[in-house]
Each structure stands twice: as C-alpha cells, then as structure tokens.
C-alpha cells in the first residue's frame, strides 16, 4: 500500500514540477513535450542530449531549466582546443602555503550546459562523459564528489557539419535521453518575436524551486513502484532492438536501466505512485533512439532510429499476466 508520506511526496513533486515546467515554458514557446522530457530526465537523475540545427533554442532550454531551479549553473562552450583539465579541474601549487591546491573545473556545478559537445576532441569528450557517469572527478589521485542534483545538458549539432567529432554510440549511451527541439510553429515564433524583442527573457526568470527540493523529488521518484510486468515490458522492448533486422547495434542494459528510471519520473510527474506500460512507451523513443545504429540498408530506405523504435513498440506485446492466470472463473484469481 502507498504510505501517507509517499502520497504527500508525490503531490509535492507534482506541484514543484509544475512550477518549474511553467517557468521554463515561459521562455521556450510551444514546446511543452520537450520541456516535459527535460524535467523527466532531471528527476530521473539522467543527462540530456539536445540535438538540432543551430538557433532553435537548445541552449535557451538548458539555461531556463537551470535558472528555474535555484542551483549552480556552468556553461562549457566546447571547442577543438578545450582540454580535459578545463572540465575536471587542475591542481595548482600554492607558493605561500606550499601545497597543491585544487582548482575545480567547469563541471563543478549542479546543471552543466555542454554547448556543441561534438566540437571538442574525443579526449575532452570522454573526460566529461566519465564524470557524468560516476558523478565524481578524480584529479591527481584525489576524488571530488560532484554536487547533487547533477545534470549535464549537452547540445549537439547534426554531425554533417564541418569540424565536429560526432559522439560514438558508446558515449551517447551515457545520455538518458535525446531530444530534438524542432522548429517552432509560426504562432510560437511570432510570440517569440514579441518576447525576445526586449531584454532577454532569461533575465526575468526567477527560481521557483530550490536545489534541495529537487533532491527530495529525486528521492520520491526512486520510490515509485515498478511492477514486474512493466519491468518485463521494458526489458522486452530493449531486447527487441538487439534482434531487429534493421538495427546494426541494439540498446545496452544501461538503456533498460535508463528507460525504467525515466518511466518512474514520468509516472511521478503524472502524479502516479506506480509506473504504467504507457510511461515506458511514451519514453522509449527519446530514451532509446539515440543509442541505436540502423543498418546501411535501413538508412538507404530512409528509416530513422525513431521510426524503428516506434515500429518495435507496435510489435512488442505488453506482458499480460491475465493470460497466464487460466480461464477466468469465479475464485480463479
């Protein structure tokens, strides 16, 4: 049974999340589903990859999210000459105190915006991605914990552009979800002209939640119940990517983990204390698509990973415990 505390936690979560969502949406016009996904990833302790062409508001989304939550924000503009130590930090010898002093790098913040992450060299990329996964940084043998909540929002331009090092599949796996902003609708774009004509709307943004509130929400999300059939469904969907004829590389077990975590956050955002297969379905495309590698044949047929995941969802049966419970007769349950 759901305890009183859990219910209270969930209703608090719904309220706080709603405030953050409205705050972000006041800046990002007409993209409620993108904002919702960003929030889901934040609550599921994941990292978000935003991939789209320049100028559609990738950085704006990341900044708005960070500002709406009262937490520390750092932005790293990735360039080919960025060094791993610029991200993690470096030990400097202090002449007066005669000891090494650690100068934390740009990663030491609660929301880190990695802009155009595919412009940095692979070495620098992997420095970032390692600290993302472990939530700590080790420099000169000493380990420094990163603050909580910790979320990296990386943006990436489509890989055909010059001077980029596209993230390898293994690295993309570290991101919980990928989202593409897409162009705004004409109305939204018109409203945007009105709003952005003046001073930056980001400046007006006031924090609507504290970082420690978010930490509590994250804990509430962890407590969301995932029933066995739902877990099996998530495993089935991910496993289907590994055998799909149009996919050269399927999703990893980490993807399953991310999918269930995201589904928990999705359920919590909907004010539910348990996960439905619907939550898994709704998040499967953003959580799985960026990890998959369609075969050359599929690419020639213009099949995108998103389409293939959608296809898999259409074909994967939702585990039906009733089907195994025998012919339904009175008392047969």
């Amino acid at each position: 049974m759901t305890t009183y505390d859990e219910r209270a936690g969930l209703s608090a979560l719904a309220g706080t999340a709603d405030r953050v969502r409205r705050s972000v949406e006041s800046v990002i016009e007409g993209k409620p589903e993108v904002v919702r996904l960003a929030l889901t990833v934040l609550l599921a302790e994941g990292h978000l990859l935003i991939e789209d062409v320049p100028g559609v508001g990738k950085t704006m989304l990341a900044k708005a999210l960070a500002r709406s939550v009262d937490c520390s924000v750092r932005r790293i503009q990735f360039t080919p000459d960025l060094l791993p130590s610029d991200i993690t930090g470096v030990s400097v010898y202090d002449q007066q105190r005669r000891e090494f002093e650690f100068k934390p790098g740009a990663i030491f913040a609660q929301v880190v915006i990695g802009d155009e992450i595919n412009r940095a060299s692979p070495k620098t990329q992997s420095a970032l991605l390692e600290s993302m996964e472990e939530r700590q940084v080790t420099v000169d043998g000493r380990t420094y914990e990163l603050p909580a909540p910790f979320m990296v929002v990386a943006t990436q331009n489509p890989v055909e552009m010059e001077g980029t090092y596209p993230l390898p599949e293994a690295q993309r796996d570290r991101f919980m979800a990928r989202v593409s902003m897409g162009y705004p609708s004409p109305e939204a774009e018109l409203r945007m002209l009105d709003v952005h004509g003046g001073p930056s709307p980001l400046d007006d943004l006031q924090p609507v939640a504290h970082a420690h509130e978010i930490v509590k929400l994250v804990e509430a999300v962890r407590a969301v119940h995932v029933a066995e059939p739902v877990r099996r469904y998530a495993v089935d969907v991910v496993a289907a990517t590994r055998h799909h004829p149009e996919l050269g590389l399927g999703a990893s077990p980490r993807a399953t983990l991310h999918l269930v975590r995201a589904a928990r956050a999705g359920a919590a955002l909907a004010g539910r204390e348990f996960v439905l297969p619907d939550d898994v379905r709704a998040l499967a495309v953003p959580v799985l698509a960026h990890r998959l590698m369609p075969t050359a044949q599929a690419r020639m047929n213009r099949r995108t990973a998103e389409q293939i995941v959608f296809d898999i969802l259409q074909r994967t049966p939702v585990p039906d415990p009733y089907a195994h419970s025998g012919p339904p007769v009175p008392g047969g349950l």
Partner: protein, 774 residues
C-alpha cells in the same frame, strides 16, 4: 509471343521467311553439302530475307546486304530495344519491334533446325523453343492462353515421338509387336510394322502428360496462376490486364525508386510546424477507368491570385496553419507539373504556368518545366482531429458521384476485401483508417520496388494476393478500395517530405518519389492517408484510434494477446464440456448410420434422424450458448478485475475490435472507445475498467479491496457497442462471436503442447530400453 504486340501481321511475315529459310536447309541437305556450309547458307538466307523486308532502300541493288544495311539494322535494333523498354505488352508493332521479333524467330528457327535436323537431336531442340515460349508467357503476365501451351507442347512431343520412333526402329523388332516370322528379318524399314506399338504407347503417354499438365494446376489450389485460370470476367481479349500507360508520371516513379543513386531533385525551406507531413504533390490522378488511375482532362486557367479556396475545407471547422515553403528545383529535374504542398493558397513562380482547379495543380504550358525553377508556395497545413473526421457529414453529391466511380471490370475481390478489412467500422473515417492500417501494419504487406509497376484492375487483385509492391500498388489499391466503400478517393503523385539538412533546408531526392491516396472528408477536404509501409509518415489524425491489425480475415503477424498460451480446459476431447452438455458435438449425432437395412424405417432410425436434425439445427446456436455462459461466469459477483477485463476485450472483439497485444490497458480502452464510437456513460465505464486493471496489475502492495460495479460497467459498454454497431455486426456478435477464436487457439496450443509432451515421452523411453545392452 502473340500477346506481346498489338497486331499479328508480323506472325505471317515470320512464318513465310522461316519457311524459305527451312526450305534452303532441306535443299542444301539433299545436295548434300557439308554441315557447316548448310548452316552458313541458311544464315545468309535469313539475312537476305531480313534485308529485303526491312532495309530494301539501303541494300545494294535492292537485294544484297551492304554496310549501309548493317548500319540500318544496328539502328533499328537500338530503337527496338528502346521501344521494348518503353512499352508494356501489348506494344505497337513498330518496324524496329517487328525486326526484333522476326529476326528472333528466324534465329531460333535456325538453331532448332541445326539441332533437330542437322544433328538429329529432337530433345535439345526443344530448349530454344521453350525459351521462345517462356519469353512470350513471361512478358504477357498471365495472359497466356492454354491453347497456345497445348499447341506448343504437343508439337514438341511429336518431335520427340518422331525421334524415338526413328531410334527404336533402328533396333529391330521390339516386344509385343505381334507375331512376326520367327527369327525373321532383323531390320524393318522405319515406320513399318511392329514399330507401331511403341508409337501408340508413346502417343498415349504424350496425351496423358499433356492432360496432366493442364489439369494439375486446376486441382492443386496452391499452384497459383494455373493455365485454366479464368481471366477477368466480362472482358474479351483481356484488354484490361496489368498494363501501364506511358502517359502519366507514374512510369518514372518506379525508375526513380530503383535507381542506385538518390539524385537531389529539389531543396526547400518551410515554415511548417511539422515538416514530416509536408508532402509535395505533383498531380492528382482522379480517374479510375479499370485499367489505370490517371488524371482527367480538365480545363486549365491562368493562375489566380490567390488560388480559390480548397474544396471541402470549411474554414474554422478544422485547425489550419499557414506555411510558407520556398522551393528550388534542381537543374536536372524537368517535370511539367509544379510540386507543391497541398492545399496551396498562393504561388509565386516565374514562367508559363497554368492552373488546374480540380486537382489544384500547376501545369507548365508550352513546354514549361520545373528545370531550375525557384518558387514560393503559401499553403495550409490542415490538422483535422480524428473526432472531426469521424463526425464529417456526407460529401456533396457532385464529389460523391465523380470520385466514387468504380468500373464494373474491377474484380469483386477488391470490394470484398475492402468490406472484410473494414468490418465493424462505424463511419467512413474509421473505414479509411482500417484500410490504411491493414496495408501498413496488419495485412502482412511487404514494401518491394522490384515488383512490376502494374496498374489497373487485375493488378490490384494480384497485389492483394501477393502482398508485395511499392507506393503505386498501395495507393492505387487503397484508393480503389475506398471508392468501393463509397468514400470519394483519388491518388496523388509527388514526393515524401525529404531529408532535413544541417542548414535548415530539406533535400528531396529522386528516391522520395511517392504516390499516396487522398480521401475526401467534408470539412477537411482532400485528406492524405499513408498505406505504404516504411515510407513517409502516417498522418496524426489516422493514429488517434490507433493503428491495429484490424482485419479479421488475415491473421495478424504480430504476437497478439489471443495467441498467448493458455491452459486448455481439461475435457480431453476436442469438445468443450459446455458444448457436450448441450448435445452439440458432431460425435453424438451420427446415429443416423444405425440399422438402415431394415425394410421400413425403424423407430430407432427415425429417432436418430430426428435427434441428428435437431442437433444440426442447434449447431449454429452453440457459439451463442457458449458465449452467454462464459459471460455469466466472468461477470459473476467476486469474479474480479481480470475476468471483467477479459470480458470487456472479448465483447469488443465480438463487435469487430480485435485485441492487440502491443496495447497497454489504457490504449486498449481508448481504442475501444474510439472504434466502438462509445459516448457518455459507456466511455466512462471503459475508462473505469482500464483504471481498475492498471491498479490491479501495476500498483504496489496487495490487491485492493474488490472494485464494485465491474459487471455493470461491462454491461454498459456492451450496450454502447451494440447501439453503435449495425445490424449485421450485432447479429455476428450474437451468433458468431469472434472471441470464440481465443478459445480455439487455446485448444490448438494445448494440443500442440500435448503432442510435444507425448513425443518427448516416447523418445525418452527408447534409449532407456536400450540401456541394459550398452
């Protein structure tokens, strides 16, 4: 070969020339000349004959082939090859095609002559003939006449017979040939006396084989396209066969799709919110004449500014957005229609373009093409909702009359399949969605651009049977089927939205060429559907009630809930307890076999017959009885959520909404509400049931207190479904409930499992017996 060309005069020509060539061979062998000399002479004769017939103007002295003649031949052959590529059978008999045909026949004739007569091998001589026959049969696509086959095969068998007789007679007397003089003449002249017996046997074998070849395809149902298969009923010389007409842009469509390279044909930028729905339309094919879809001849006008309001689109009734699209066509792309999103409101374009109001297309005048064109189109993005389309009023009489015409030559299977697929749909919109989903998901169709680009009535029937094809097949078939259902339909040809580029533009390649059906719904106007699997995107408004394998006739390729293994009832026999109780199983009836030999009908016999008749009469009511019983059990107090939910899904199935394992309870509920057109209390009841299932299955902790009112909710839904269904659907749900299949498949599974267990047991017992020896 006759069906390949539209006139048969060439046949006479070929026969004459062949006769001359053969005569030369006969004379040469009489002389006798060396073998190679004979062949050379025949070949020269052939060349001479061809020169006289086809290139007399270029010949030396009007007779002898010189270099000019060879040049002329080369040109004709090139031309002929082109023609062959351009026309489908039957092609016009141009000089070039005639040369190819007659030349080919002469060549094959020469080879056969050499092999059969010069080298005395009748059997291999059949091979070139077989090649000739298969080319004709293959190209004519099922229009081969069995009579031709009979003639050809009989001829070949005669050839074999002649050879066999010849060979046999050389052995001397053979068995069974009557009583010749004992130890008599060892050698008989060929064709005399006892050699007749094997000839007779051979003739018999020949007739038998031919008969078998003709009859076997009739008997074997799996060998499709048998020789005796009837052609389109009501049609004479098969004029409506799978032909394409070279006048519409479809011909280049398959070429485009099959090209190894994807050439860019245009690039555009658009302000449309969802660019994946921005199909670029070239032309609308609105006339279905039974042999192909084509654009009607319509009046064209100057391009008005702005363009008139699109037909059927009521302003304010559905959500529309304006989108501005700037297109730059590639220099290599010359098309005399302007590709535009639909419906365009205004177009800014240079050049001699004219406007065709019915199809809302721009047509180039005086050879104007899109080559290098730069233009800007303001169009509407129409976003109807599923509910709006479902509630669309009847289309105006004029549209209905014009766009639902289906010629009588269309095979009935098209309309039958359409009805079967859309069974249970409450309105034209649902029918359309079911059709689309059947093609795209549930019907087991495969996307394949290698399939012949057939069109027309036979081609549709063939496609429905073979289930392989590309966009042309899918769109033609869906449009034709929609018309048979009374939904105004036409086919649009153009491009899918292309691939977004990094600079924000979208590149459209030759491989994006596409055809799709447009169906008319009052209020939204012509509305795009996407039946082709793995191409383009299915519009949002068709996804709302959800794609599903709705066809009760075709088994769904997906694993579905119904296919899940389920323990069978332990009745042991193939008859459920309920059925046995009501005396329905076939086993109990055959008392009619009883003492039939008695002089008069014995009382026992009469009782038996009466019981049998009663049983037969009661048989149709068995499903009804079974279903009622199951329902009563499931809805009994305390039966619980799973039973109620199964009853709900089964009830929906009975009313034509099959269960789909890939749907969550919530989605299944939404689908039952949408497809069953439930409203008010019934719709709320479905939602309540789905919520109860979610709680039961997915919520934490021990099961909650028993939910009240489940049975009432299921009954509410059932009443709602019955109210929305038509009389046939209601009757079907009552007398032949589809959910019976769930039970049948469970029996099937149990039977398979039992058999597997038995096999394992037998296998495991065999080595055990062998062990002591080892």
């Amino acid at each position: 070969m006759v069906p390949l060309v539209d006139k048969t005069t060439w046949l006479l020509q070929a026969a004459l020339l062949l006769a001359v060539q053969a005569a030369v061979g006969v004379v040469a062998r009489r002389v006798p000349l060396a073998v190679w000399l004979t062949v050379l002479l025949q070949a020269l004769t052939g060349l001479l004959l061809l020169t006289v017939v086809f290139a007399r103007a270029q010949a030396i002295g009007g007779l002898l082939p010189g270099p000019d003649v060879l040049h002329e031949f080369a040109q004709l052959v090139a031309e002929g090859t082109d023609d062959v590529g351009r026309y489908a059978a039957p092609a016009p008999a141009t000089t070039a095609i005639r040369l190819l045909l007659v030349g080919g026949v002469l060549l094959v004739g020469l080879v056969v002559d050499v092999v059969a007569v010069t080298f005395r091998g009748a059997a291999p001589a059949g091979l070139p003939l077989l090649a000739l026959y298969s080319v004709g049969a293959g190209l004519a696509q099922g229009r081969t006449d069995w009579l031709w086959f009979l003639t050809a095969a009989a001829g070949y068998l005669l050839l074999l017979l002649a050879e066999g007789r010849d060979r046999l007679s050389r052995w001397g007397r053979v068995f069974g040939g009557g009583q010749g003089p004992a130890g008599g003449a060892a050698v008989l002249a060929p064709g005399q006396g006892p050699a007749v017996a094997p000839v007779r046997t051979g003739r018999r074998i020949g007739v038998l084989v031919l008969g078998l070849a003709l009859a076997a395809p009739l008997v074997l149902p799996s060998i499709d396209g048998g020789l005796l298969r009837p052609r389109t009923p009501g049609k004479g010389e098969g004029a409506g066969g799978g032909t394409i007409s070279a006048v519409n842009p479809l011909v280049s469509l398959q070429n485009n799709l099959n090209q190894p390279q994807n050439r860019e044909v245009m690039r555009y930028r658009t302000s449309a919110g969802s660019p994946q729905d921005l199909y670029l339309r070239i032309v609308a094919l609105d006339r279905f004449d039974g042999s192909s879809w084509r654009a009607s001849d319509r009046k064209i006008t100057d391009v008005p500014v702005p363009l008139p309001a699109p037909a059927g689109l009521a302003p304010g009734a559905v959500r529309t957005e304006e989108a501005i699209t700037s297109v730059a066509a590639a220099d290599g792309y010359a098309q005399n229609y302007l590709p535009m999103p639909y419906p365009a409101q205004s177009v800014r374009v240079e050049g001699r373009w004219r406007y065709e109001p019915e199809g809302r297309t721009l047509v180039g005048d005086h050879g104007q093409t899109t080559r290098g064109a730069r233009y800007q189109v303001t169009s509407l993005v129409v976003e109807p909702t599923a509910a709006q389309l479902a509630a669309a009023p009847a289309p105006p009489e004029k549209v209905l009359r014009e766009y639902t015409q289906v010629p009588s030559t269309v095979p009935p299977v098209v309309a039958d399949t359409a009805r079967k697929v859309t069974a249970g749909a409450a309105n034209p919109y649902e029918q359309a969605v079911k059709l689309q989903d059947w093609f795209a998901v549930g019907g087991g169709f495969r996307y394949d651009t290698e399939v012949g680009s057939g069109s027309g009535s036979n081609a549709i029937a063939r496609f429905l049977e073979e289930k392989r094809g590309f966009c042309v097949h899918f769109s033609f078939s869906m449009a034709a089927m929609a018309r048979t259902l009374g939904i105004p339909a036409r086919v649009a040809v153009g491009f899918t939205p292309g691939t977004p580029q990094s600079d924000g533009s979208v590149s459209v390649g030759s491989k994006d060429a596409h055809a799709w059906p447009e169906l008319y719904f009052e209020g939204a106007g012509w509305t795009r559907f996407e039946p082709t699997p793995s191409r383009g995107t299915q519009p949002d408004y068709t996804l709302a009630p959800g794609p599903a394998p709705d066809d009760p006739a075709a088994p769904s390729p997906r694993p579905s809930r119904s296919a899940a293994p389920r323990p069978a009832p332990s009745t042991g026999s193939g008859c459920p307890a309920e059925l046995r109780k009501s005396g329905g199983c076939g086993k109990h009836t055959p008392q009619a076999q009883a003492p039939a030999r008695a002089d008069g009908p014995s009382p026992l016999l009469v009782t038996g017959i009466a019981a049998g008749a009663l049983a037969v009469l009661a048989l149709p009511l068995l499903p009804l009885a079974w279903r009622t019983r199951v329902r009563a059990r499931r809805l009994a107090p305390g039966a619980g959520v799973p039973a109620a939910w199964q009853e709900l899904t089964d009830t929906a199935w009975d009313y034509g909404i099959p269960p789909d394992g890939s749907r969550t309870p919530r989605m299944a509920a939404a689908r039952i509400t949408a497809a069953g057109a439930l409203q008010g209390a019934a719709a709320d009841a479905v939602t309540r049931l789905a919520t109860a299932v979610e709680q039961d299955l997915y919520a934490p902790g021990p099961a909650q207190a028993p939910v009240q009112g489940l049975a009432e909710d299921v009954t509410l839904v059932r009443t709602g479904l019955r109210a929305a269904a038509g009389r046939p659907a209601r009757l079907r749900a009552l007398l032949a409930p589809a959910s019976l299949r769930r039970r049948l498949s469970a029996w099937g599974t149990a039977w398979t499992a039992a058999r597997a267990r038995a096999v394992t047991r037998v296998r495991s017992s065999v080595p055990r017996r062998g062990k002591p020896d080892a």
